[in-house]
């Protein structure tokens, strides 16, 4: 690609200022060694697939490496130096994460294998214990499959049903419709995402949690796309359950968090059975351990918890408000640029109502061809249904393409992305090609 694009000069996308200065951004990027690599085509990498998974800073890589190099052993009950040090680090990680979301107590923070495992835990314990035939679970149509399938499975087991909250044609939610659904259906559970992983739409978590409470519904918030980007305070939001994963917020894979209000978690039966989650076991049965161990059967993800805590500290150190402002500025550049292009449709609300996610489609070009060609130009995006088949069906689309920005992306990458989209459009525009005779092989 040319170093100077007439497109950019013309539209001056860069007039928007981002929250990090150029030199701050340079320093941030130095913390992420992977960002310096090239893609298979030899182009410099512009990583815009952050809503799927983010990259790891040195702080996280080093914290995990340090654990393995210096003090790793199984946690709890080990009466030796390494086990005691590992246990201390693991429990410190829990306190760090509790502080990160302002949990009332670190006993409310359950480490799981990921956001998906967190939701499944709630479905299999609280769900099985509290829902029955005819009961309703309300979820939004924009949920990720992780916040749909466990409820479908629960419905199969118990006879309850899942009802979906519609979205407006502007890709936002109407509070009157929410209120109407809560009043009419009297759901036992209201499960909703804090930020749609496709549309970027933010939901009013605190307001919906209050509404749900007033109608007697328990709330479960999928904060997977929120914790990496904005401050979360579970006490102020007053959610019953809130879940997120580590790998979307600079942390490791294989770890997630289930936050629940202490009373709810205490009333829930244990889920996975095994070592670590019991007080005592006899030939007749078992007595579960106290929180949080009750829900952490087996050897937990020790180094991953330590890595997640390092990620939380890294984000807090940069300042989540500044991270949000930075991503928002980049999103605005991309969103605005795409909206000005002929034949391109932005799938999502106005940039003012979202964080760092911009999904779109190009007339007559399949999402996978867009992603493939962008990769050729060094730009990583995501194409497909993004684990939101019901939403795509509602939109009457089989797939969309998504660019998602994070704290380490440069404004120049948003600009490069827009130039690349112009190239993609040109490449796949029908130009009266004729099929040729194949050369004999």
């Amino acid at each position: 690609m040319g170093s100077q694009s007439p497109l950019v000069e013309k539209k001056s996308y860069l007039k928007d200022t981002t929250a990090f200065t150029i030199s701050e951004l340079d320093q941030i990027r130095e913390q992420f060694p992977i960002l310096g690599r090239l893609t298979a085509s030899g182009a410099p990498l512009a990583f815009l697939d952050n809503a799927a998974s983010t990259q790891r800073p040195l702080a996280v890589i080093d914290a995990m490496s340090d654990c393995f190099r210096r003090y790793y052993a199984n946690v709890h009950r080990g009466i030796h130096t390494l086990s005691e040090e590992s246990t201390a680090a693991y429990e410190q990680a829990r306190r760090t994460v509790a502080e990160f979301i302002n949990a009332a107590s670190d006993r409310e923070v359950i480490f799981t294998a990921g956001a998906t495992a967190s939701i499944n835990t709630v479905a299999r314990t609280w769900g099985d214990a509290n829902l029955g035939r005819g009961d309703v679970i309300l979820a939004t149509i924009a949920e990720h499959h992780a916040n749909i399938v466990p409820w479908h499975q629960l419905a199969e087991r118990t006879g309850c049903k899942v009802v979906f909250l519609p979205i407006t044609s502007e890709y936002t939610f109407d509070d009157t419709v929410v209120k109407d659904h809560l009043a009419r259906l009297q759901p036992k559970l209201f499960a909703f995402t804090a930020v749609s992983n496709v549309l970027g739409t933010k939901t009013p978590v605190r307001r919906w949690a209050q509404l749900a409470k007033s109608f007697g519904a328990v709330t479960l918030v999928d904060a997977s796309q929120a914790t990496p980007h904005e401050p979360i305070d579970v006490q102020s939001l007053d959610t019953d359950f809130l879940v997120f994963g580590g790998h979307k917020m600079c942390g490791p894979t294989g770890i997630g968090v289930l936050h629940g209000k202490q009373q709810l978690l205490e009333d829930m039966p244990a889920f996975l059975g095994g070592g670590g989650m019991i007080l005592r076991v006899t030939t007749e049965g078992f007595e579960p351990a106290e929180l949080p161990d009750k829900f952490e059967a087996g050897t937990p993800p020790i180094a991953e918890a330590i890595g997640l805590a390092a990620a939380a500290n890294f984000l807090t150190g940069l300042g989540l408000e500044r991270i949000a402002a930075h991503e928002h500025a980049l999103c605005k550049i991309a969103d605005q640029g795409l909206r000005e292009m002929q034949g391109v449709e932005v799938i999502g609300p106005d940039a003012s109502q979202k964080g760092g996610i911009v999904s779109f489609s190009i007339d007559g070009v399949h999402a996978h061809d867009i992603a493939q060609e962008l990769d050729h130009l060094g730009i990583a995006v995501r194409a497909g249904h993004h684990c939101t088949m019901p939403l795509h069906r509602w939109m009457k689309k089989t797939s969309t393409t998504r660019a998602s920005f994070y704290l380490y992306n440069r404004p120049q990458e948003a600009e490069r992305f827009l130039e690349a989209i112009e190239l993609v459009k040109t490449k796949f525009t029908r130009s009266g090609r004729r099929r040729r005779q194949r050369n004999p092989q």
Binding site: K248, H368, E373, G384, H385, R433, R435
Partner: protein
């Protein structure tokens, strides 16, 4: 800047824009359709197979990415005049070779959709019950499924 082959070679784009036998075949004796649900690619194939077990005519229709549609066109162009024996012996590797540019495991699925449909179509006479395995031969290619992400 590129050290990588462009999978959208000229002849691929030519087939995408000017496909061979895209449409329905009224006098089809055999027919099958399948999709890749994760990306939404669909390919339908109509065949006219004569008494000597030769493919007299092959037509396709469908919707999807450049790879899935261009490869279907290339396949139709290749199989007319071939015997059912030839089709049965036509491997997935040969299909990928017919397409040309090297595909990553994720995109091989797109290219192999029409091959999969063809392998089922020769066992699916029109006006007959669909075969037991609606999605064709139980063969898996490539890495993790496209689009199954979080």
């Amino acid at each position: 800047m590129s050290s990588e082959q462009d999978i959208y070679e000229e002849h691929v784009l030519d087939h995408y824009e000017d496909p061979y036998h895209r449409g329905d075949l009224e006098k089809a004796t055999h027919s099958h359709e399948a999709d890749n649900p994760l990306c939404g690619d669909v390919v339908h194939i109509d065949l006219r197979i004569d008494g000597d077990e030769k493919i007299q005519e092959a037509w396709f229709s469908g919707d999807g990415c450049v790879i899935s549609q261009a490869s279907a066109s290339m396949l139709m162009e290749t199989i007319e005049g071939k015997s059912l024996e030839d089709i049965r012996n036509f491997t997935a590797e040969e299909m990928l070779a017919l397409f040309g540019p090297k595909l990553t495991p994720n995109r091989q699925k797109c290219c192999l959709l029409s091959w999969r449909v063809l392998q089922s179509a020769i066992h699916a006479p029109v006006d007959d019950l669909p075969p037991d395995n609606e999605d064709g031969p139980d063969v898996h290619f490539g890495g993790p499924s496209l689009s199954e992400e979080t």
